[in-house]
């Protein structure tokens, strides 16, 4: 018995030592340090993002008075509502149109800024970023005054040329145009700054080689600039698509979803149904419907980024 006890202890001791050494080695590893350093942020995200997300999933499974579990009942109800499909359609139109224009304008402006001599470039960069750094709730209020039904500054100016008055927020088509315009104005600087950073990382030698080969400006963009920027373009587009889909403040302030629900997007309609209509489970279901749409977009875009990463 005694021998056996001594024997077991003798075996356990080196095992414990190995484990201690293993822990020491793990702590020495850079990835462990990185994980520990990011742990507070991970916990914060879990608290502020994961918990509310799970809670909204829970809410979406309850009945209107939040006392009974209804499973997918809220979604089944939504799928039968015409207004819901109108909101889905409008959210897609809003997000896709706004992101396309933001990307296009950001790309063009980034080229202009890139070609400004380094000395003056900083000023331009700063000025062009202004729309993006002003809180959108504030800047949209200024746009609201510009579009005001009765006192629109735009209509006042257009009247000098015999044009208008244009019902900026009173007609469905114009209202959609207005909310997209403000979103593009707000978001284009983000694309501009991302593209500018990407442009600066394209080696000059590639352009020189293209010039020697006789490439014109379009061929330089198509065969040099775009391939070098494609990962940034993809990631920026994905990020912007997510943010634009989830937009609330611009539409809420400018049109509140009107006229006749023609500018409602997921977030504004979720607010209307959930808070103003006191049907929080249905509101949660509306906002959760964004998840599958964005997940599909994210899978496609990120898969493309991975593919390109592997190619390079």
């Amino acid at each position: 018995m005694v021998d056996a006890a001594i024997g077991e202890d003798a075996i356990a001791r080196p095992r414990r030592a190995v484990r201690r050494r293993g822990l020491r080695n793990a702590l020495k590893r850079k990835s462990t340090t990185a994980f520990l350093l990011t742990l507070p942020l991970i916990l914060l995200i879990a608290l502020l993002v994961v918990y509310p997300a799970l809670y909204s999933v829970h809410l979406a499974t309850l009945n209107k008075s939040m006392q009974r579990f209804v499973g997918f009942g809220n979604f089944e109800f939504l799928f039968k509502r015409d207004t819901f499909w109108l909101v889905v359609k409008q959210s897609c139109i809003f997000a896709v149109t706004a992101v396309v224009f933001k990307a296009l304008i950001g790309f063009i402006v980034a080229h202009f800024v890139h070609n400004i001599p380094a000395k003056g470039q900083r000023k331009w960069r700063g000025m062009l970023l202004v729309p993006w750094v002003i809180p959108p709730a504030m800047s949209t209020l200024a746009w609201l005054w510009l579009f005001d039904p009765s006192y629109s500054a735009f209509n006042y100016t257009l009247a000098f040329f015999g044009i208008g008055p244009i019902p900026w927020t009173g007609d469905a088509a114009w209202a959609r145009f207005s909310v997209i315009l403000v979103n593009v104005w707000y978001g284009a600087p983000f694309f501009m700054i991302m593209y500018l950073a990407s442009l600066k990382s394209v080696p000059d030698q590639l352009y020189e080689a293209a010039a020697i080969d006789g490439a014109n400006w379009w061929q330089r963009i198509w065969y040099v600039t775009l391939p070098m920027m494609r990962n940034i373009i993809a990631i920026t587009t994905l990020f912007s698509l997510i943010v634009t889909f989830a937009n609330f403040d611009i539409v809420r302030i400018l049109t509140a979803g009107g006229p006749l629900d023609k500018t409602h997007i997921f977030a504004t309609w979720a607010f209307r149904v959930g808070i103003e209509g006191s049907d929080i489970p249905l509101g949660a279901s509306v906002s959760l419907f964004m998840v599958p749409i964005l997940a599909v977009a994210a899978i496609f875009i990120l898969r493309d980024v991975n593919k390109r990463g592997n190619e390079s």
């Binding site: 005001d148 039904p149 009765s150 008055p165 019902p167 009107g258 808070i275 103003e276």
Partner: protein, 446 residues
């Protein structure tokens, strides 16, 4: 070391004294002997009006030895509704909270019944109007007590001069200051003709058709004047009726006489319309007139607040009450009830109404003739008929008499203004009705 000995007498005396202190301690009233009470009140937009509430609460707190904390919560951006929703979901927050219109019903299961205090309050102040009963009661149980702060009637505010000049109507004669209304000729048909005349003269009526409350409230009152109900009191969908068709025809004619951009109006648009001097009438509580008094006094002195026109089924005016409600999870319900009783005393109500410049409206029948409404001006008496002193119009809320939880959906989704717009923009009557019927069926979910 000397040790003091405790004899038997001293021991008995000390024990008796300690027991006496321990037994009486809870009954000794310290500064905050009755505990704490937190309240979320609506943040008034009339400068200084909050102070009247604060003073009344402090006066009560000092008397009752309660530590109070008041938060004034704005209704801008629906913040008060968001706070109510958050506190309801968390089952934690203020003890007492101000709830607008539909919210007591929406949170009925989470509210402390207040029948015990409502009875004596009604006895003292007089009967409450039907809208307050509809919104504040559920199954014979009072869910909340009507608050005068924030409660309002959104009646017509007319430009005396423009109406007389272009439509030939003297609103001061229809609604004389200090006397009962002589408004038999003030019908929906007269109203339409006046709207058309003012539009021709370049000063159209400013009645919104957006999705915010001012637009919905006006549409609601006109629908009721025609007897048009989208859902009846039993909860049946009653969209396809002649009354609804008549209301839509009326609105189609009215929309043709309104500014072309009314579809995008919000609750500020009509106020701006009046203050700019561009229009002959808006539907609003006296806040627009108060702004005009400050920013455009020459317009304010031509404004007259009065009653709605009478329709085939009666004369209705939108009344939007606020309520003081007590959460069932409140830790000091008795103190909350005591405070509400104090705030509902006629003297307290008079102070709050005066501080709001006559904007706030008590829901009780004995309190519609306060001095403030007789004195306010210019022009003097402009608010005399604002509180409906002669009861000549039925105070109502859009979408009633549908069961409140359904009506709230109709109201929040602005179904009535959307119907009016759709029909006025050329959609066929039956298509508009079919659309509205589908919407209302969707609002039935529980």
């Amino acid at each position: 070391m000397s040790r003091r000995k405790l004899n038997r007498r001293q021991f008995v005396a000390a024990t008796a004294a300690t027991s006496a202190v321990m037994i009486t301690a809870p009954y000794v009233r310290g500064a905050y002997a009755a505990g704490k009470l937190s309240m979320g009140f609506w943040d008034h937009w009339v400068p200084g009006a909050n102070q009247a509430s604060t003073d009344l609460v402090n006066e009560w707190a000092a008397k009752e030895k309660v530590e109070v904390q008041i938060d004034y919560i704005t209704s801008q951006g629906k913040k008060i509704e968001l706070t109510i929703a958050a506190e309801g979901a968390a089952k934690s927050g203020h003890d007492l909270i101000a709830m607008p219109t539909w919210w007591p019903h929406a949170h009925a299961e989470l509210l402390e019944p207040v029948n015990d205090i409502m009875g004596p309050i009604i006895q003292e102040n007089g009967e409450v109007n039907g809208t307050v009963k509809y919104l504040g009661q559920s199954g014979g149980k009072w869910l909340a007590v009507p608050s005068c702060v924030g409660s309002q009637i959104k009646g017509p505010c007319t430009r005396i001069d423009l109406m007389k000049k272009h439509a030939g109507i003297d609103v001061q004669q229809l609604y004389p200051a200090g006397g009962p209304p002589k408004a038999d000729s003030w019908t929906t048909e007269t109203f339409l003709k006046a709207a058309e005349a003012c539009q021709k003269a370049g000063v159209p009526f400013g009645i919104g058709l957006g999705e915010t409350t001012d637009s919905v409230d006006s549409a609601g009152a006109f629908f009721q004047a025609f007897g048009a109900e989208l859902v009846n009191a039993k909860g049946d969908v009653t969209v396809k009726t002649d009354a609804v068709r008549q209301a839509l025809e009326f609105y189609k004619r009215l929309i043709a006489a309104l500014p072309p951009d009314v579809a995008s109006w919000d609750d500020a648009s009509n106020n701006k319309w009046l203050v700019s001097g561009k229009g002959a009438m808006i539907m609003n509580p006296p806040s627009a007139w108060a702004v005009a008094k400050r920013d455009a006094p020459q317009i304010a002195e031509q404004c007259w607040t009065h009653g709605f026109p009478v329709g085939p089924k009666g004369r209705y005016a939108p009344f939007l009450p606020y309520f003081w409600s007590i959460w069932s999870f409140s830790k000091n319900k008795e103190a909350a009830k005591s405070l509400i009783v104090h705030l509902s005393k006629p003297a307290s109500i008079e102070k709050m109404v005066a501080a709001s410049g006559g904007y706030d409206l008590p829901a009780y029948e004995k309190l519609t003739t306060l001095k403030i409404w007789q004195e306010q001006g210019p022009p003097k008496g402009t608010l005399y008929h604002y509180p409906n002193p002669y009861n000549h119009q039925t105070l109502s809320i859009a979408a009633s008499p549908a069961p409140p939880k359904i009506a709230q959906q109709i109201y929040a989704q602005a179904t009535m203004t959307k119907m009016c717009l759709r029909y006025a923009q050329g959609e066929k009557m039956e298509a508009t009705l079919a659309w509205a019927e589908g919407e209302c069926e969707g609002f039935m979910r529980s």
